[in-house]
């Protein structure tokens, strides 16, 4: 437990003491609440209950739906168009589904799974429509992969910015569905088809052109995420999932796929999701380059002298993470971090590095190398290579400055 959490707990304990004095007995019963429909359900145990000796009173009986401890309040950070995963509050590699980032272009649509169909047409032998139950009857596939928006870099001059705000537009799930190649075989995709259009049934009627080769290679029509049906925010009842590629191309609420011999040049692959590179604008930059970030210690944490396990995630859209190196002296020297298995293809990989902090002011940072030999660049290297700053596909090394008082602040590289 870090000092900040201790302090937080201290505050809570005081609050509870006062509340308990005012009538703790009334809150001691099993916690059952009424829903809007009048049904009684189990709810999270309120903080007051934690004052009691849990061994002296029967606990809450089994419930229909699990709950989070009322001490744990991880939340997405929302803006008008997105909400960001609280990377600094998470452990391991799976993002709880309700904390998966969101980015959509005109809200989450309400789609009836009973009438849902996916249409596949264009350069095919047989234009066909598949219901949700059809999709579920095909042989299935499961992949644990990250999904990342390509516009996933923010900074803050005063350093007061958490991993969530820097790059919280990446999350990881187990995605289950049918391989798009299975459906391609079913409809008989023409060998002359080189691109397909993927279209969503949201109010933006989102469209992206995707090379057919990705469809044959590893694209999935996903209907499940982390053991349950995909959530509405993630594309219920079915979405395209393109492992390792920029999130926008994995079109949610997928209603139509059209095979073609040319890209469609939709707004999201021309006006948006394109980035300046020297005097050109680069488009169809599908693959997410390798990236890593230390999620502990990171702003807003405050650290104490002694042993610190530096933790973070690393990932690459081109394959597996080969190694992660950590520097605790502002990038002068680098040491191997321990990669926590599983180390999966196109997936967030957890890394750890044990470090004894003696209280000196310093900067810590991580850099990943993927299995293609790509080494995560500094911010300066990236802007020099592109002759431009900002924009999409920005994956720089992220540094954390640690002050003598243990304060941790973001630093650009």
């Amino acid at each position: 437990m870090n000092p900040q959490e201790e302090k937080k707990d201290g505050v809570i304990a005081q609050k509870i003491t006062r509340r308990a004095l005012l009538g703790g007995a009334a809150t001691a019963a099993v916690v059952i609440v009424q829903t809007a429909s009048g049904k009684a359900v189990q709810a999270a145990i309120p903080e007051a209950k934690y004052l009691e000796d849990p061994t002296k009173r029967p606990g809450v009986p089994p419930g229909e739906l699990g709950t989070r401890s009322s001490f744990e309040k991880p939340l997405k950070k929302i803006s008008d168009t997105s909400s960001r995963t609280p990377l600094q509050d998470l452990y391991g590699i799976i993002t709880p589904s309700d904390l998966h980032y969101e980015r959509h272009h005109n809200g989450v649509p309400a789609i009836d799974p009973g009438t849902y169909e996916l249409l596949i047409h264009g350069m095919v032998d047989k234009p066909m429509a598949f219901s949700l139950s059809d999709l579920k009857r095909f042989p299935s596939v499961s992949r644990i992969c990250f999904l990342e928006c390509s516009g996933n870099y923010r900074s803050q001059a005063n350093g007061q910015i958490a991993p969530q705000e820097i790059c919280g537009l990446t999350s990881q799930s187990e995605w289950i569905g049918v391989k798009l190649s299975t459906l391609f075989r079913e409809v008989g995709v023409s060998p002359k088809a080189t691109w397909f259009l993927a279209e969503g049934s949201d109010a933006a009627v989102m469209t992206r052109s995707v090379p057919v080769s990705k469809g044959w290679e590893d694209a999935v029509i996903a209907y499940a995420q982390n053991g349950e049906a995909i959530r509405p925010e993630q594309g219920y009842p079915a979405r395209l999932f393109l492992p390792g590629w920029e999130g926008n191309a994995s079109v949610k609420w997928l209603r139509r796929i059209e095979l073609s011999d040319a890209p469609f040049m939709t707004r999201e692959e021309t006006s948006k999701y394109t980035e300046p590179v020297r005097d050109k604008y680069r488009q169809f930059s599908f693959v997410m380059d390798a990236r890593s970030i230390i999620t502990y210690p990171a702003y807003p944490a405050q650290v104490q002298k002694g042993w610190i396990e530096i933790r973070g995630i690393a990932w690459s859209g081109r394959g597996k993470v080969l190694q992660v190196e950590v520097s605790t002296d502002a990038g002068k020297t680098w040491q191997q971090a321990h990669l926590q298995p599983p180390i999966l293809d196109k997936a967030h990989t957890y890394f750890r590095y044990l470090w004894e902090w003696k209280g000196e002011e310093t900067e810590i940072m991580s850099r990943v190398t993927d299995e293609t030999g790509y080494l995560q660049p500094t911010y300066r290297q990236l802007t020099e290579a592109r002759g431009a700053s900002g924009g999409y596909h920005f994956n720089p090394i992220t540094a954390w400055w640690i002050g003598r008082d243990g304060k941790v602040l973001f630093r650009s590289t």
Partner: protein, 210 residues
């Protein structure tokens, strides 16, 4: 796009005739797949797949037409109808200006029209990306407005109205003349100022930073 032309293609029994493993890694896979994008051996369990699973239903061209609203740069998919800037200007003031600014400049949802800034020392283009400075294809203007705008009432415009708005925005950006009629013939022929600046991604993985 409406795919009348697809129906003229011969039936390809190609995939059914090949082992699935060959389909995934062989010559049919596009060049990108062969550029060494690392992947799991996804084709392995397709070896025993039957030729068809007998799932799904074949759809008619009428059904497809109802959903098929996309437009390609070559004009494929553009519907009948036509429009000019003057008509579009009136429509724009009524339905779009509240979010995209009077004359397409400076609204809360972003400018659509390239302008000069009053404070700039010499006439200077706004750095803001607009249809005039950043859009490589005119057909995208039609496609996007038809599918997604107005933001609060998407899909509410007639094809005629979309042609009018497209003509207005292209004219306001100095791309076409005031009298130029936009229709399925003329729209794909419009050459956009930003066209030449767009290049396809050439990152390949490996040590190079691009």
């Amino acid at each position: 796009m409406t795919n009348g032309f697809m129906l003229k293609l011969p039936k390809y029994l190609f995939f059914a005739a090949l082992p699935a493993a060959v389909v995934c890694s062989g010559p049919l896979a596009g060049s990108k797949a062969r550029q060494g994008v690392l992947s799991m051996p996804t084709h392995q369990d397709t070896l025993r797949y039957p030729r068809t699973f007998g799932l799904g239903r074949v759809v008619s061209q009428e059904e497809i037409r109802k959903l098929d609203i996309d437009v390609r740069p070559d004009g494929l998919g553009l519907p009948p109808g036509s429009g000019q800037a003057a008509e579009g200007k009136l429509l724009y003031a009524r339905k779009c200006a509240v979010c995209h600014g009077e004359g397409g400049v400076g609204g809360p949802s972003g400018s659509l029209v390239t302008s000069t800034t009053a404070t700039a020392p010499s006439p200077q283009r706004r750095t803001e990306k607009t249809i005039g400075t950043y859009w490589p294809y005119a057909t995208t203007v039609f496609d996007y407005i038809r599918r997604a705008m107005p933001f609060n009432e998407p899909g509410s415009l007639s094809n005629q109205e979309v042609y009018q708005l497209t003509a207005y925005l292209l004219h306001a950006n100095g791309v076409i003349g005031e009298q130029t009629v936009m229709d399925a013939e003329s729209l794909p022929r419009v050459v956009m100022p930003a066209r030449e600046r767009f290049v396809s991604d050439d990152r390949q993985g490996g040590p190079e930073i691009k």
